[in-house]
């Protein structure tokens, strides 16, 4: 199994490097803004948001950009090996489809864990720095933002995974994966407008339903993609 996971990592190495850059970049920017201001424009230091809020912004940006990595991984997972035909190489080795899939899922799960945990720990550390009741409002909202970003990332990954299982194009799989949450939001907005037209105030539950809709779609897409890959005889 370790060779399979190594192969998965190596196959997705470019995505992993891009993912690492996306993960770290917002933090680098947040720190760099402070240093550059201190070095070249010390008179502007008072106008900068406090470092806790800069780091909070960095954590949320890092989290959001990290979800793109999950979308890329999902889209490249199966279709990426079809497009370079290395899937055929795996197909004539004595490997069950379940083992091939397990390695792909392990890599994606590990990547998601790194992205989510790193930013979660940063948020937790920032939160812990304040006494109860003195937490800034932006930080208080951060948890719900974190949850919606994570849910969006799950949808990115799962829809891209489904398309990757069905198609031979990683690019199409990734694009559809990335577009889906926006389609969900659009559908919810339209539903809200429709309700408003009929005199019903659905704002509250319509937008709250973003989470369950995304989670159900993600679970269904992941299950369908996995099922299709497992039952398909062709690589």
């Amino acid at each position: 199994m370790s060779w399979l996971i190594w192969k998965e990592y190596r196959h997705n190495r470019l995505i992993m490097i891009v993912g690492l850059v996306l993960l770290v970049f917002p933090y680098v920017v947040a720190v760099a803004i402070g240093w550059i201001t201190a070095l070249f424009a010390p008179e502007l230091r008072g106008e900068l948001p406090p470092w806790t809020l800069r780091m909070l912004g960095a954590a949320l940006y890092s989290m959001a950009l990290g979800q793109l990595t999950l979308g890329l991984l999902g889209g490249n997972a199966i279709a990426g090996e079809r497009v370079d035909r290395s899937a055929e190489f795996l197909a004539y080795l004595p490997l069950s489809k379940a083992r091939i899939l397990s390695a792909k899922i392990a890599l994606a799960a590990a990547t998601a864990a790194v992205i989510w945990l790193l930013n979660f720990v940063v948020l937790l550390a920032l939160y812990a720095g304040f006494e109860e009741g003195a937490t800034p409002r932006a930080l208080g909202n951060a948890w719900s933002n974190f949850a919606s970003i994570a849910t969006t990332g799950l949808l990115f990954f799962s829809v891209a995974w489904l398309l990757s299982s069905l198609l031979e194009s990683p690019a199409v799989s990734v694009c559809v994966g990335l577009i889906t949450p926006f389609l969900v939001v659009t559908a919810l907005v339209l539903l809200n407008l429709l309700l408003a037209y009929h005199g019903v105030d659905g704002r509250r539950w319509v937008f709250v339903s973003y989470y369950p809709v995304c989670l159900v779609l993600a679970a269904a897409s992941f299950a369908a993609g996995t099922w299709y890959f497992l039952r398909r005889v062709e690589p």
């Binding site: 370790s2 060779w3 192969k7 190596r10 196959h11 370079d84 035909r85 290395s86 899937a87 055929e88 190489f89 197909a91 004539y92 080795l93 004595p94 490997l95 069950s96 005889v233 062709e234 690589p235």
Partner: protein
């Protein structure tokens, strides 16, 4: 692991059929390859050779029929079958970013019966650099790496699908050396498809000729060549052949010259056609596998 069956065919295809929408790629193919034999599968482009091999390897689902290898159903037990089969495809799909030693390590981790000694011997025979990346290997070296990966687990069956297509003569020779070494050393069963009929005559003891998905011939090569003759005869002025011998693959009349290739040639064939066609002159010509193949395909094309 199941015990190796000591008898029974290594490959058994029964009514294997594959249809791609309107195209019938393989049509009700039934075939048995006994243990220890070398089976050459030949046919014109698009005859269904690769489709048949892919179904045999469990990489393509059949529309109908079944395929058994070493007594196991290839679709019900694909992993167990692949543990005991080595496969070299026409296009080699080893991950291009891998180094040779990484490709070996990767495959080594998959096979229960990997033999380091065989692997080292093949590495030396082919002079493959373990540190070279697959993407930097020439076509010939890549084919050799593919063969090394296919035989290093000492498979009971070796399947080669036009593995030497596009190789230069020297690379072909070295590749064939590797194949011969494998067959001779271990008495493996082998099925291979190729367009180079010299290779078939050199390696195979049995040949199958596929045409439009149908198996036209499945015979021992020596028997096929002994039983297939071309008869060149001169017809009387203005006459056409009145009697066509049974088992005729192909025939052509140009002027007074009549050429006919007979598959079931026997000592009675010439007296029979002499008697019934009042021929002026008859000559019997021995054929090589290439001529037999060409005449058979030409005959099929003319018939359709």
């Amino acid at each position: 692991m199941s015990a190796k069956p000591s008898h029974g065919p290594v490959i058994e295809l029964k009514g294997l059929t594959k249809r791609f929408r309107r195209t019938l790629a393989v049509d009700d193919l039934s075939l048995q390859v006994p243990r220890g034999s070398t089976f050459g599968l030949i046919g014109p482009n698009g005859a269904g050779k690769t489709t048949t091999i892919k179904m045999l390897m469990g990489m393509l689902s059949p529309t109908a029929g079944r395929a058994r290898v070493l007594g196991m159903d290839v679709f019900a037990e694909p992993v167990r079958v692949k543990q005991r089969v080595g496969y070299v495809p026409e296009t080699h799909h080893v991950h291009r970013w891998m180094r040779v030693r990484e490709a070996i390590g990767f495959c080594r981790s998959m096979y229960e019966s990997w033999n380091d000694e065989t692997c080292r011997a093949m590495l030396d025979l082919f002079a493959l650099d373990p540190d070279k990346r697959v993407k930097h290997l020439s076509k010939g070296m890549l084919a050799k790496l593919s063969l090394l990966l296919a035989v290093s687990h000492d498979p009971d069956l070796l399947v080669l699908d036009e593995p030497m297509a596009g190789l230069d003569p020297l690379a072909r020779e070295e590749f064939l050396d590797g194949v011969l070494r494998t067959i001779c050393d271990r008495g493996q069963t082998m099925l291979f498809s190729t367009h180079t009929l010299d290779d078939v005559q050199r390696l195979a003891d049995t040949v199958g000729i596929l045409y439009e998905g149908r198996l036209l011939v499945h015979r021992n090569i020596e028997e096929l060549l002994a039983g297939t003759k071309r008869i060149q005869a001169t017809l009387p002025d203005g006459c056409s052949p009145k009697f066509i011998p049974p088992g005729t693959f192909w025939q052509r009349v140009r002027g007074r010259q009549w050429l006919v290739t007979v598959g079931d040639f026997s000592p009675d064939t010439v007296p029979q056609i002499r008697e019934k066609n009042s021929l002026d002159h008859v000559e019997v010509i021995d054929l090589g596998l290439e001529d037999v193949f060409k005449d058979l395909v030409k005959g099929q094309r003319a018939a359709s």
